[in-house]
């Protein structure tokens, strides 16, 4: 049959061309691949190259030397010890409260949850400053123990201090994960076990705990890896024999091209990679136990001694979790605080220092973090859109590359950035890219892209394709559909993600410290470190730390308001 009176549509109007890929999508895809390639793939590849390639080509000699060098082995042991210790201590603090909150219902429950999550707003290396004032060698509580009880015990010193700082920062993370898992266990699973005759401890041991275990393990592993590869906390507490500090010192004080620095980086990378893969696997297992029936077990009332003891312990943990905050805030307003329980004089001079005499730390941080947040969200929206709707080859590739930094320790990414961008000369200015302030937003985009992409992708997955089809049928071209339907629907999630990028970038230290070339360019986190180097600067460091805590607290609150309940943030 011949078509009658065919009016051929103009080529531009063709909706789905015969070829499989969409030109506009391909262009965006290519642009994003370049961005993610430069910011993520190049630095990581450069670290691998630094460790595995020398003049003679591929070599394992540097990595092998790592395992023959006592100092490095000791650092590895210390890092693992610190990670394990922090995880155990955090679990000990978190699990009783998690059980209490997940299984019982009582007045003031919401207050307790909020209170117990407060430690998340203080980055561990800031918390370390406060802990030092409370539990360090000359800390208030240390003095108290010695004066009143005659006990000589310094809790926040050396590795022990690192463990304590991390445990106090991360236990809410485990708490939230496990509470959530407990609350999400389909009550019918436990009811079925009860009908089958299990109760009390046996029910807990045979049914409830196995159901919650994957969630706990996933959370614990992430705590372990974050504690293992941290740099800021050990530096503040003057602990040098850990992997992070060793890598940092090799690269910044020995030589930019020192292969040992890269070998340490590779070991850290491998550790983090294994941990993240493991946590992801366990996270997937968790889905099995939580049915989407929406029915939740009603909490039991607090009755008897057991739950009351749990409550008492949780409150104690709550106070413990506030120690870093109290220490930092008090320190920031103290004129003199040495060998006394409390400061012997108060002043706002430290705030005058950081806000008026040297305001660049705070201003730089605001500039860098805001830039990073905007760019990260823009990239994340593109990546998420292409992943879900893209008519491009291998849409998962981009998503994979963009989420890869989640398994890269900050120190390692910083080293990669230094190695790559120190060689890139900026046209006209004739200086390396690492000399420009832009390097910091670039770094923060790379480091926080995974979170932005995940949040945006989750929002994108909520957009049912028929919503776009309905728009197309109603007469909207693809761009109009994106602008009027897709963008407004993912914007909430994307902006919330952007706020989180902002706050996490504002307190980023591990990678930042590697890229500092001039003090005038340095952000708040490096400022804290700088001030904390001298006893006289501690007050200013604490004041900057307080600003950081306020930024994080406000940002977290905003992100939760905008994006609804989201998983707790970690850095």
């Amino acid at each position: 049959m011949e078509p009658r009176a065919v009016t051929a549509p103009s080529p531009a109007a063709l909706w789905r061309p015969r070829w499989r890929y969409e030109p506009a999508h391909l262009a965006l895809y290519a642009a994003l691949l370049v961005v993610v390639g430069v910011l993520v793939v190049l630095p990581i590849a450069s670290v691998l190259r630094g460790a595995l390639v020398d003049s003679g080509g591929f070599t394992l000699a540097h990595v092998a030397r790592f395992f023959y060098t006592p100092l490095y082995l000791e650092s590895l042991r210390n890092s693992l010890y610190a990670g394990l210790g922090a995880t155990l201590l955090a679990s000990l603090l978190a699990l009783p409260a998690a059980f209490l909150l997940g299984r019982y219902q009582f007045r003031g429950q919401a207050v307790l949850v909020t209170w117990l999550t407060v430690p998340l707003v203080i980055p561990p290396f800031v918390g370390a400053i406060g802990l030092n004032q409370a539990l360090g060698r000359a800390g208030a509580l240390t003095l108290f123990l010695e004066d009143r009880l005659g006990v000589q015990f310094v809790a926040a010193e050396g590795l022990r201090g690192v463990i304590l700082a991390h445990a106090l920062h991360y236990f809410p993370f485990i708490l939230l994960t496990v509470t959530n898992a407990l609350a999400n266990v389909d009550p019918s699973l436990e009811e079925a076990a009860k009908v089958a005759g299990a109760r009390g401890v046996r029910l807990l041991w045979r049914v409830t705990l196995p159901l919650v275990a994957p969630a706990y393990a996933a959370g614990a592993i992430l705590v372990f890896v974050r504690s293992t590869d941290d740099l800021g906390t050990p530096l503040i507490l003057n602990v040098k024999n850990m992997l992070g500090p060793q890598a940092y010192f090799r690269i910044t004080t020995i030589a930019r091209e020192d292969p040992d620095g890269y070998a340490i980086s590779i070991v850290m990378l491998a550790l983090a990679l294994v941990a993240v893969l493991l946590a992801t696997r366990l996270g997937q297992r968790r889905e099995v136990a939580t049915l989407q029936t929406g029915s939740r077990a009603a909490g039991r009332p607090l009755r008897g001694w057991g739950p009351r003891l749990l409550l008492a312990f949780s409150v104690l943990v709550g106070f413990l979790g506030l120690l870093p905050h109290l220490g930092v805030v008090l320190m920031s307003v103290s004129r003199v605080w040495s060998l006394t329980y409390l400061p012997t004089g108060y002043t706002l001079d430290h705030y005058a220092e950081i806000l008026f005499r040297a305001p660049q730390f705070v201003l730089n941080t605001l500039l860098y973090s805001a830039t990073a947040a905007v760019v990260a969200v823009a990239v994340a929206v593109g990546v998420a859109y292409l992943q879900h709707r893209g008519r491009v080859p291998a849409p998962g590739l981009l998503d994979f590359a963009a989420t890869a930094p989640i398994a890269v320790p900050g120190v390692v990414l910083g080293i990669g950035f230094l190695r790559v961008f120190d060689r890139w000369t900026v046209p006209w200015l004739g200086v390396p890219l690492t000399a420009l302030w832009l390097i910091f937003p670039m770094l923060y985009v790379a480091r926080r892209l995974p979170y932005a992409v995940r949040a945006t992708s989750a929002a994108m997955a909520q957009v049912h394709p028929t919503l776009e089809e309905a728009a197309a049928v109603c007469g909207a071209r693809r761009w109009r559909t994106f602008r009027r339907v897709v963008l407004p629907l993912v914007l909430g999630g994307a902006v919330a993600a952007g706020v989180l990028v902002f706050v996490t970038a504002a307190v980023e230290f591990s990678a930042t410290v590697l890229l500092i070339s001039r003090v005038e360019q340095s952000p708040l986190s490096y400022g804290i470190y700088l001030y904390a180097q001298s006893p006289r600067g501690r007050g200013a460091a604490a004041a900057l730390g307080t600003v950081a805590v306020v930024l994080v607290a406000v940002g977290t609150y905003l992100a939760n308001r905008i994006g609804g309940r989201r998983p707790a943030l970690t850095w």
Partner: protein, 363 residues
């Protein structure tokens, strides 16, 4: 481009020409040809997976066929994007934009067509009035009941004065009572507007009530198209007979062939039923009898003998399942609800043979 006029856009005539669409190795639609007349209410009916939704999406331009053409008023629109087809479409899940109010949802297509503000206001109000939602302009979809969401979706589809209205199982998410009510409203609106309508459903009752014509699809192919009455009374094969209205299938053998009827041996009974096409003596056939074409009486009253297995009391009527000695189970419909029927009772069934149909059976 779209011209904005006060006049009703003329309903289009749709022709599908040998459409084929494969997903992987399986053909969702295979060589499907159909034509839908101007202003006609045309239904694609079939079980899930029969290709009816894919066909609708091809007509909408959301899916590009591998082969074949779609013609609107004789013009080939196969490669035309959906936004240039001037359609109205109601999705199974309504696909209302959750971030827009009722007003903005309905106005969307008019805004895309650059209709002046004042006219948008007027036409949205008019469309909402038509579906009985005046006063709901400021609500968000999440604040509406399922039936109200359905009406918004319908208003959104109609407000642009489309040449063709596409409906993809629009009532499947509504409860039974609301479904019947919405069905009546849709029928009224469609008649008033005279808009060509392509309707997809797996619900045979909906199809029978609403349609001018029905096409029954199976495995991506067209089995039979015709008016509801044609399909119900003269199904082409066992599939159509069973899918539309339900049918008891009794295996039998042709005994004697007349000019327009045939005598079939079914068990102990002989039945004379109308037939078209070939049916030579000795050929195995299915005798297809609708449940309401079986007359039930107690004891041995001639016809097929059997035993009551189960009864369904529906208040206004009574249905029964009867087992024949060879194990075949027959559905009987339309019994007087006061009939004292109990499982285990011996009964006999007389076939109203003039309403029965004979189809070939592969032995």
């Amino acid at each position: 481009m779209e011209t904005v006029s006060e006049e009703r856009v003329l309903a289009v005539e749709v022709e599908l020409d040998r459409l084929t669409k494969r997903f992987g190795a399986t053909a969702a639609v295979y060589g499907l040809s159909l034509s839908v007349g101007r202003g006609e209410f045309f239904t694609l009916l079939g079980p899930s997976g029969c290709g009816k939704t894919t066909t609708l999406r091809i007509v909408a331009g959301l899916v590009e066929p591998d082969d074949g053409r779609v013609l609107f008023d004789g013009k080939d629109v196969t490669r035309l994007p959906p936004w240039d087809r001037n359609l109205g479409m109601v999705f199974q899940n309504y696909a209302l934009w959750p971030h827009m109010t009722v007003f903005d949802n309905v106005a969307f297509g008019l805004v895309e067509r650059r209709v002046p503000r004042a006219e948008v206001q007027r036409r949205v109000a008019e469309a909402l009035d038509k579906v009985g939602l005046t006063g709901m302009e400021g609500r968000f979809p999440s604040q509406l009941s399922g039936g109200q969401q359905q009406r918004v979706a319908l208003a959104r589809a109609l407000v642009v004065r489309p040449g063709l209205l596409l409906l993809d199982e629009p009532f499947s998410n509504l409860d039974a009572k609301l479904r019947v009510q919405m069905r009546a409203e849709l029928a009224r609106l469609q008649r008033d507007l005279g808009i060509t309508t392509l309707y997809v459903t797996h619900d045979q009752e909906e199809a029978l009530v609403l349609s001018d014509r029905i096409a029954v699809l199976d495995s991506g192919r067209l089995v039979q198209a015709g008016t509801p009455r044609e399909l119900y009374e003269n199904p082409r094969d066992v599939f159509v007979a069973d899918f539309l209205g339900g049918a008891n299938l009794l295996p039998g053998v042709v005994v004697r062939r007349g000019s327009a009827e045939v005598e079939v041996q079914v068990g102990d009974a002989r039945v004379t039923a109308p037939v078209e096409g070939e049916a030579a003596p000795g050929q195995p056939v299915w005798l297809s009898v609708r449940p309401e074409h079986l007359e039930l009486s107690f004891g041995d009253a001639g016809g097929l003998r059997g035993t009551v297995v189960a009864t369904d009391y529906l208040g206004w009527t009574l249905q029964a399942e009867v087992a024949l000695p060879d194990g075949t189970r027959l559905q009987v419909r339309g019994l007087d609800p006061s009939t004292p029927l109990r499982p285990g009772q011996p009964v006999s069934l007389r076939i109203r043979s003039e309403r029965a149909r004979v189809f070939p059976r592969r032995s």
